[in-house]
């Protein structure tokens, strides 16, 4: 399934709803990436140090190893930026969606708001098991399943499918 169902293509509300979702998430991830790139003091260490649940051991391993921490920092800075560009411009957006989902889901898994887990970092909302990271990861899954960039986006120029 790499193409959008024609019933959605032909339904403007459904189709443009998906495009808007893609552009908004693209915008968000692009700024997440760029804000880290332009901050010389940003490090994933702070987030990782506060990690709870099944990946807290992995988080500690990364923080205690300067090479792994550097890799983690660069992966986040450039990864998020590229995913953001991909979704915003509609360029290789299916890859962008799935990679972006991987990033956002990992943020959820490193610090999920499960019962009994408390975090030092203040929360901006109220969450029980489900938080915005989980929802954004799901939204990226939806974008992967319903690709729009071959119609609205630079992928259109690489696509041989019937255009509308």
């Amino acid at each position: 399934m790499s193409e959008l169902d024609s019933s959605i293509k032909n339904n403007q509300y459904q189709f443009y709803g998906l495009v808007v979702l893609r552009v908004l998430i693209g915008w968000h991830l692009l700024y997440e990436g760029i804000s880290k790139l332009i901050n010389p003091y940003w490090s994933s260490a702070a987030y990782l140090l506060d990690s709870k649940w099944i990946f807290s051991g992995l988080a500690k391993t990364i923080v205690s190893n300067p090479t792994l921490l550097t890799i983690s920092d660069y992966a986040n800075m450039y990864g998020l930026t590229l995913v953001g560009v991909s979704l915003l411009l509609g360029l290789f957006s299916r890859y962008g969606s799935i990679v972006g989902m991987g990033f956002v889901l990992s943020y959820y898994l490193f610090a999920p708001p499960l019962l009994g887990l408390e975090y030092g970092k203040p929360n901006e909302g109220s969450y029980l098991i489900v938080n915005k990271n989980l929802i954004e990861a799901c939204a990226l899954w939806v974008l992967y399943a319903f690709p729009t960039s071959q119609i609205i986006g630079l992928d259109r120029f690489f696509s041989n499918q019937e255009k509308n």
Partner: protein, 531 residues
């Protein structure tokens, strides 16, 4: 359809293709415009604050290699808890300690104690003399001098045990001594060491009484030895940064400084374990209590006093010399306040009614009329409330860390005062918000960031953010020992030299004297007397 209209149609289709393909590019443009605006805004905000803040950027401390320097032989007098830490700072730890911390590091990758010790610079010295009145500690000291697990590898020489400090001072091979005995021995040993031509690193509080402080000061000045008092806060970068900010007048006129100690555990209140091997045979009790005003025979009470000496005025000065001294010295380091004109203090034994005579709740005020300044010290040993230290200026306040005894290690934040005169325009224009710090210092950070997120502020206060970033931590105690050894070699003044040490000693003695006599104490600088 005619060819022309077909062509027309194709062109329309191509145009439609192009438009749809590039449809979101303008949104990327909007993004870039807003990114640029946000960045310029942040830059302006930073420039506005930092143009004032960073007039002087302190260069990182120059690392002088000690490998080709003159080798120094040191002796330790008092190898207890603090003594062993100081000797580790010089590069010598017991086998038991290195085994334990290397095992801890294996179990927990974030435990950097072992790595911190092993990556310490080799200070090109040997530990060749150990003196302790408790046999177990003396043996540990000897063990530390022999342990190969150290920065620099196998020690060049090992230590001899001396029963009495005078025998250690008589050893001509010893160049310098670290004194980490209880306070009631500090002055005698320091003076005798100075007279024997040995350089001295003395733990704080410098002396137990005011008269002793005068004697140590004179002895150090007369003999010209290199004297370092054990306030390792002098090596803490946060304190240097704080000084730069204060020196530039960014806090405005400062009339009140509040420093505090909050502890809430038996350990924090000096109720330490009595060593199972401590007895009349392993402890030289008579020598221990020789300089103290009140003498008691060896027994259960004596054992308690030997291992928990900080709880009695016979051997120390309680909160004054143990904890106030650190914070006083940190403020003296930042603000050059010197000796106060007046001191008064009150308090009592309110929580630990275990036979001690030093207060566990104690408040002292120091007046500096010529500097328009009051320094307030407030301490409790029965609450961990993280007050930290506060320097309160008319234009901004500086809040330093939470824990007692060098809280500033965890960084500090500066927040503008909403009624500030200096920042009035910027407050009105919204460039400065009195609810958010205008300046956050995080340990390990190379620069200062005026625009920090809530997350980084949180971690900055915990001192976590940059600890692992550079992959190396340094123990300020090691730096303080290093500073002392460097000064011995090149004849320069160490950071906590006798002049500033004397300020601490007199200020603490004044506060103690006030508590014991119930009077306000005045310092007479001309006759060097307390009135």
């Amino acid at each position: 359809m005619s060819d022309t209209s077909k062509e027309q149609n194709n062109t329309n289709l191509e145009r439609r293709d192009l438009l749809k393909g590039l449809a979101t590019v303008p949104i990327a443009g909007v993004f870039l415009v807003n990114l640029w605006r946000k960045m310029s805004r942040d830059r302006a905000k930073k420039a506005n604050l930092l143009s004032n803040l960073i007039q002087k950027k302190s260069a990182p401390a120059a690392i002088k290699s000690m490998a080709n320097s003159r080798h120094l032989n040191i002796g330790i007098i008092g190898y207890g808890g603090r003594g062993s830490h100081l000797v580790r700072g010089a590069g010598f730890a017991t086998k038991g300690w290195t085994d334990t911390v290397s095992e801890n590091a294996r179990k927990n990758k974030l435990d950097k104690q072992f790595e911190t010790f092993m990556t310490q610079e080799d200070l090109n010295c040997s530990l060749i003399g150990v003196c302790d009145l408790f046999d177990v500690n003396a043996e540990l000291g000897l063990n530390a001098s022999q342990n190969d697990v150290r920065p620099g590898g196998k020690p060049k020489a090992t230590a001899t045990r001396y029963r009495h400090y005078k025998d250690l001072l008589a050893d001509d091979d010893i160049d310098a001594v670290i004194i980490a005995t209880p306070d009631h021995w500090h002055s005698r040993i320091s003076i005798d060491a100075a007279k024997a031509g040995k350089h001295v690193y003395c733990e704080k509080g410098m002396t137990r009484t005011f008269d002793e402080a005068i004697d140590v000061y004179d002895a150090v000045k007369e003999t010209g030895i290199t004297f370092q008092l054990g306030h390792q806060n002098r090596q803490v970068e946060a304190n240097e940064k704080a000084k730069e900010i204060i020196d530039q007048g960014l806090l405005g006129p400062i009339n009140l400084v509040e420093i505090a100690t909050n502890r809430n555990s038996p350990w924090g209140a000096w109720v330490w374990g009595i060593h199972p091997e401590g007895n009349e045979k392993t402890i030289d009790w008579d020598t221990f209590q020789e300089p103290s005003p009140n003498k008691i025979p060896f027994g259960e009470e004596a054992l308690k006093r030997f291992f928990r000496w900080r709880c009695w005025y016979d051997y120390g000065t309680g909160l004054s010399g143990d904890l106030l001294s650190h914070d006083f010295d940190a403020i003296n380091q930042m603000m050059d306040i010197g000796i106060p004109k007046y001191a008064s203090s009150t308090g009592g034994v309110y929580f630990y009614k275990d036979g001690r005579d030093v207060p566990d709740v104690w408040n002292a005020t120091f007046e500096y009329p010529d500097k328009d300044l009051t320094l307030l010290y407030s301490a409790t040993l029965s609450s961990m409330n993280p007050r930290g230290n506060r320097i309160m200026g008319h234009d901004a306040s500086m809040q330093m860390g939470g824990q007692s005894g060098g809280g500033s290690i965890h960084g500090f934040v500066v927040t503008a005062d909403e009624q500030s005169t200096q920042y009035k325009e910027r407050l009105e224009s919204g460039m400065i918000n009195p609810n958010y710090p205008i300046y956050t210092y995080s340990p390990g950070s190379k620069d200062i960031d005026g625009v920090t997120s809530a997350t980084s502020r949180y971690f900055a206060n915990k001192g976590l953010l940059y600890t692992y970033r550079e992959g190396k931590r340094v123990d300020p105690t090691h730096l303080h020992i290093k500073d002392w050894l460097e000064s011995i070699r090149d004849g320069s003044m160490p950071r906590c030299n006798i002049d500033v040490a004397f300020h601490e000693a007199v200020a603490c003695a004044m506060a103690t004297e006030s508590y014991l006599t119930g009077r306000r104490i005045e310092w007479d600088p001309v006759n060097r007397k307390l009135i």
